[in-house]
Structures are given as C-alpha cells and as structure tokens.
Amino acid sequence: MEKRKTAKIEVPLTALRAGETGTVTSTKVDNGRGRIFEKRLLDMGLTPGTRVTVVKSAPFHGPLEILVRGSRLALGRGMAKRILVETGNV
C-alpha cells in the first residue's frame, strides 16, 4: 500500500489554534522513558488516526483542553508537544 503524504502537514498538537482539528499520527517517545506516557495517551484514546480538536489552552502556557472520542480532556502542555498531528487537506 502506498502511503499518501502529499499536502499533509505534520505538527505538534500545541501548534493547533483553538477550534482546529487534527489527526494523530504518532507520539514522540524518548528511549526507555516515556513508555508509561505513551501507554497512558493510548489508553485515554489518543491512538494513531484519532481526530483531536483543540478547544482552548489554559493561560500562561498551561495545559490544552481537547475533544477526543466524544469526551473532554485536559492535557499537559509537555505531553501535548510530543503528540504529532496532521492537518490540512486530507
């Protein structure tokens, strides 16, 4: 199967503006550490291919409020930076 990579931009979740939606492509995990982090994100439903909408961000570079699988999550900014999403013409 050919993967179409045209016209898709991959950015960290924190780059989305309030109200924008993206599709999760992957999570950046450091070697060794971050396994729990990845597992936790997966368990909360942020699996590859999931649509995520950023509702807003808490003041002073605080966590993001996101909509995932019909529920509202608060996600720490450090975590959100490591989630890559695709936006643009899908």
């Binding site: 999570t27 982090f37 909360m44 808490a58 003041p59 699988r69 019909g70 509202r72 999550l73």
Partner: protein, 645 residues
C-alpha cells in the same frame, strides 16, 4: 431457605456514578480501608437481596487494565485472583466509546459480567439514544440501563446480576477479534503460554505480552525466558506491518472495536440543551473569570472550614475541659489520675478537636468539588503553576489546604494518580505551614520581632518548598507523569453519596490516628510525671544548645510539639516560666526556634494521615528526613544570623 453468599465487584471508569451505585447498594453496611500492603483505597460493603448475602467490592475508577497505575494493577489482580462471582461494569452512557474500551478489556479477563449502562438521563439530554438490546448483542453480555442517582433500574440490575450468576458460566467466553495480523500472533502466543500456571486467561496473557505489559512480561520471563524473546520477535513484526509500536496498534484496534460498537448501538439526535453545564465550564476555565472564581471559591472554602473548625474545636475543647476537671476530682492527682486525665483525655481531645472540626468539612468539600467536576477544572487552571514544584495541577488543592491543616491535606493527596506523585505531593504538603505553625510564627516572631520578620519566614518557607519539591521531583524513583484527565460535564453531585463517603473516611481516619495520638500523649505525660523532662533536655542539649543556640528546655518543647504544633510555644512558655519571650530569648533564638518548629516533623495526626496514604515506611522516612532537615537548617541559620548581627 438456603443462604447464598456471593461476591460482586464494581468496575468502571472514574466519574461514571460507580460510587453512587455502590452506596445505593450497600447503604450503611460498608467498610473503607486500603488494599493489603497497598495504599489504594478499598471500599467494601454487604447487601442482602432475596435470600442472598452479597459482598460488594468497589474497585477504583480507572480507564484501562494495564499497569500504568497502582489502581489498575490492583483491580486487575483482584478480578483475576479473587475471581468474584460477577463483575458489574458501570458504564457512562453519555461517553460510550471511551467506556466500552474498558468494557472490552474486562471481557478479555473472561469473567462473568454484566454492564450497568448508567447516566442514561445525561445521555438523553446530550441527544444520545442507545439501543440497549443491540448493545447487549454486540457485546455478548447483559446490559441494564440505570440512573443510579435516582435509583432507577437498580432492582432490575440486581435481578439480572443474580440470574447471570446462577447460570453456568460458558465453557468458552466470547471475545472480539483484532485485525488479522495481530490475531495470528495472539494465537501463536496462546500456544506458547498454554501450559504456564497463571491466574490470567491464556488469550489475555498473549494480548498483554504483545502490548508490552511489564508485570506479565516479568512473570513470564521468570518461568520461561524463551517466550519473551519470541514475543520480542512478534512485536517487531507487528511494528513493521503497522508502522506504529505494537501496543499502539493493539490499543488502536481495541478502540476501533469500541467505537464501532458505540456507533452501531447509539443514535445521535439533537441534544436537549443543557446550557448551564457548558456555560459554567466556559466561565470556570476562562483565563480571567476562571481565576476569579477559583480565588473566590478558595477563600470561601478556607473561611467556611476554619470558621466552622475554630468554632467547633473551641466548643469541644471547652466541654472536654470540664470533663477533665471532673476526672481530676474523681481520680485525684496520683500517677494514675494524672495519666488518665492528663494523658488519655488530652490525647482524645487532641484527636477529636482536629478530626471532627477540620477533617469533616474538608472531606465534604473535597467530595463535592470532585463529584461536581470542579476539581478537574482547578487542575486545568493550576497545572502550569504546580509544575514549578515538580507536580501537576491536581496537587493544587491538597497543597492549598495544607495552609489550614496538614492532616486533611495529606489525606487529599489520594487524588494523585501514581505512587510517585502521591509521595511528592504529600511530602510537599507536610512542609506547608499549617494554622498551628502560623500560631508559632505570629505568636513568637510576629509578636516580638515584628510582622516583617514573620513574613520573611513565610517567604523562606515558600522558597524551601520550591527547592525541596524540585529535589523530590528529581530523586523520587519512577517516571514523572504529566496531566491527562477527563473533564466530565458539570453535574449536581449526589449529596447522599458524598455524606456517606465523608462519614466512612472519617471513621477510617479516626481508627488510624486515635491510637497514635493517645499513645503519644500518654508517653509524654508519663515522661513528665516520672521527671524525665530534665534528663531529656540535657541529653538533647548538644543539639539544642551547641548546634542551634537555643535554651536547653527548647528540646522538650519541640518534643511536645509532635502532638500538636502549637504546643511547642505553650510548652516553651511553661518551661521558661514566662510568655514574655523577649525576656528569655534573643531575637536570633526566636527565629531559629520558629524555623525548626516549622519544619522539624509533621504532627502526629499528620503522620497518621501519611501512614494512611503512603504506608508506614514512607511516613517514617518523611518524618525522619524533616527532623534532620530542620535541625540542619536551624543550625545554619543560627550561624548565619550570628555572623550578620
């Protein structure tokens, strides 16, 4: 009539109404404790229903059955090892997909179960219509709709539960299928683990091995390391096919199944508007109004807890004082009389005047904030600030409350998810100056040296919290975790559940704390009666006099402070023979004494709270560390101040 004893377990995500259901089923027949050897809370209760005695265990609210948190591990082991007759999976009908993800994992554990499809009223308001029969068919297990807060559907749920138990369990449990690539490898692994003696079903073992579950991998490695290397190979194959880690692929597919079932069973119509919940959410998370509401509520909480606490505490002490007088008259002033009235009754007074006036309103407010959904909004707003001390947003509430009383603050640290976070939060909390510490700061330094010195000590305290918090963050083992939590829609909390939760936790705390407080009080009284205070002072004098530059009696005063921190000042006054401290202490001595009193050890009730939340070892470690830290700090301060003055 034959009596049937049954064991049911309630399992489900957080905030799905599980504890409401638990309280509805068990009424006042419940017991709150910890899981053996763990600091995870365990709620048990009994229900009599149609000739059956049913023990009900309320498992912690979790999102998954992996080993991310202690709660998840405890729940999984409980189900696999204790094999309850039935698991009732409480599901939030208004967030079906996320909840079914957990249901699917329970199904993988191959245990008799039914689903309580709860919060049907909220789902309806959100415009979600669920075809219960269809959902039942798709999941292959009974599904009963309920509205636990109104008691709707609970009788039918119980009927169905008992009917399900009476039926013979199927020889083979139905399970949903993953994609072909994963399913093939699961089957390969099932063949390999078939003969291993495990409490978990073989298919479950195979899936969890592929998911990289640490606990199961360790156990399998111990029995047959060859299997683990086979797992590594299979995991690599899946990674190559899916271009994601194997665990991501499995979890994705499981969520796919959950989403598919949810979409098939539910129909979305236009929601009956619930504007207040949405508007309240926007108001309380807004960058300006959010903080305004938070500040206002915090003040209100403080004000109400401490007005109530202060008033009842004084009322209780007064009535106890007359009792004490009565006892002294009755028993005389012999050694036994003194021990009972001075030691035993003092201990009980200390306990009662802390537990009832402060912990009772605290628990009520904590559960109210948690159940309504506001706690998660506070965490959202304060996450960034809490990162400065190595914690995330959820720790804000316990630490704020620490300024009032460390005891409920430590108990409040149970809202932290991992062991590591709980430990750091509880540790930081014990460093926060509580109301009793404030009495010392203001009563000694504030009164005799001026308010600017008292404020300076507060600044020092905050700096030390920042520093030690960061150090703890660096050195406490385990992986730091960031904030990730659901912010469920605002709802009016179920008051009866909150009252019961408060009551049973209060009882649990009293059981731990009272013996400690009373024994401590008795020991101190005995030392006093036997005239050991003088020798203790002289034994401690190298520390107090030489290192800290304090009068020798300060050592005894500090020892009494373990019981209640404000006692340090009272005892110091008694031992020095005056409360005009300016006559007997130099300004430097006052500052050093206050500094040591601020940090040197959590009071005995706080230690009890630490034991409840962290276990004996960590509680003792924290206490010991803080003694050493305070003495070191005091000695350094003494030298620095002497140099500069």
């Amino acid at each position: 009539m034959k009596t049937n004893k049954l064991l049911f377990a309630l399992a489900g995500n957080a905030n799905v109404g599980k504890s409401v259901l638990f309280n509805y089923l068990t009424g006042l027949h419940q017991h709150i404790g910890n899981w053996p050897g763990k600091t995870v809370e365990r709620a048990e209760g009994t229900l009599h229903y149609k000739g059956c005695t049913i023990d009900i265990v309320d498992l912690p609210g979790i999102y998954s059955l992996s080993t991310y948190s202690l709660e998840e591990l405890v729940s999984r082991k409980y189900i696999a090892v204790n094999r309850p007759d039935l698991v009732i999976n409480v599901v939030d009908a208004s967030v079906l997909e996320r909840n079914l993800f957990f249901t699917l994992q329970l199904i993988e554990l191959e245990i008799p179960m039914i689903v309580a499809l709860n919060q049907m009223d909220i789902a309806k308001k959100k415009g979600i219509q669920i075809d219960v029969k269809k959902l039942e068919k798709l999941l292959g297990i009974p599904v009963m709709p309920t509205v636990a807060v109104k008691g709707v559907g609970i009788d039918r749920l119980l009927e169905k539960a008992i009917e399900t138990v009476k039926k013979k369990p199927p020889r083979k449990y139905a399970h949903f299928r993953y994609g072909k690539e994963i399913e093939e490898r699961i089957n390969t692994l099932i063949e390999m683990v078939r003969n291993l003696p495990f409490v978990y079903p073989e298919r479950y073992l195979a899936i969890k091995l592929l998911e990289g579950d640490e606990e199961i991998e360790r156990e399998v490695r111990r029995r047959d390391p060859k299997i683990v290397s086979a797992v590594d190979r299979l995991v690599e194959e899946i990674r190559n096919i899916h271009e994601h880690t194997c665990s991501a692929a499995i979890v994705s597919e499981r969520y796919e199944v959950a989403g598919c079932i949810a979409r098939k069973a539910q129909k979305l119509v236009s929601p009956i508007k619930t504007p207040w919940a949405e508007r309240l959410h926007n108001l309380t998370t807004h960058k300006i109004t959010g903080y305004a509401v938070l500040a206002f509520l915090l003040l209100a909480v403080f004000y109400s807890i401490f007005t109530f606490g202060d008033y009842t505490s004084r009322l209780l002490s007064d009535s106890f004082r007359s009792l004490e007088q009565l006892l002294t008259d009755l028993l005389g002033t012999g050694i036994w009389g003194q021990l009972i009235s001075g030691g035993l009754v003092q201990g009980i007074v200390a306990g009662v005047t802390i537990a009832l006036p402060y912990i009772l309103p605290f628990y009520l407010i904590l559960y109210f904030l948690e159940d309504s959904g506001y706690l998660s909004r506070i965490a959202f707003l304060m996450d960034n600030a809490m990162h400065k001390i190595g914690l995330h947003g959820k720790a804000f509430i316990p630490i704020m409350l620490g300024f009032g009383c460390n005891v409920p603050a430590c108990l409040g640290c149970r809202i932290m998810e991992t062991k590591r976070e709980k430990l750091i939060a509880a540790f930081v909390t014990t460093l926060v100056p509580c109301a009793a510490t404030t009495v010392i700061i203001l009563g000694l330094v504030g009164q005799f040296l001026g308010i600017q010195w008292a404020l300076a000590l507060y600044v020092v305290n905050v700096l030390i919290i920042l520093a030690l918090g960061r150090i703890a963050f660096r050195f406490v083992p385990g992986e730091p975790t960031a904030l990730i939590m659901e912010m469920h829609d605002y709802r009016w909390p179920h008051i009866r559940t909150i009252l019961k939760q408060t009551w049973f936790r209060l009882v649990e705390f009293i059981k731990i704390a009272f013996p400690l407080i009373i024994v401590g009080s008795l020991v101190l009284k005995l030392a006093e009666i036997l005239g050991w205070l003088e020798p203790i002072s002289s034994v401690l004098s190298p520390l107090t006099v030489m290192w800290l530059g304090l009068p020798a009696t300060a050592g005894v005063a500090l020892i009494f402070g373990v019981l209640r921190k404000e006692l340090t000042l009272i005892m110091l006054g008694t031992l020095l023979g005056t409360t005009n401290f300016a006559q007997v202490l130099t300004p430097i001595q006052m500052i050093v004494f206050t500094l040591v009193a601020m940090f040197y050890i959590p009071c005995i009730a706080t230690i009890a709270a630490l034991i409840r939340e962290l276990g004996w070892r960590k509680a003792i470690f924290i206490a010991a560390f803080e003694i050493l830290f305070a003495i070191t700090l005091g000695g350094i301060a003494f030298r620095l101040l002497t140099l500069t003055v």
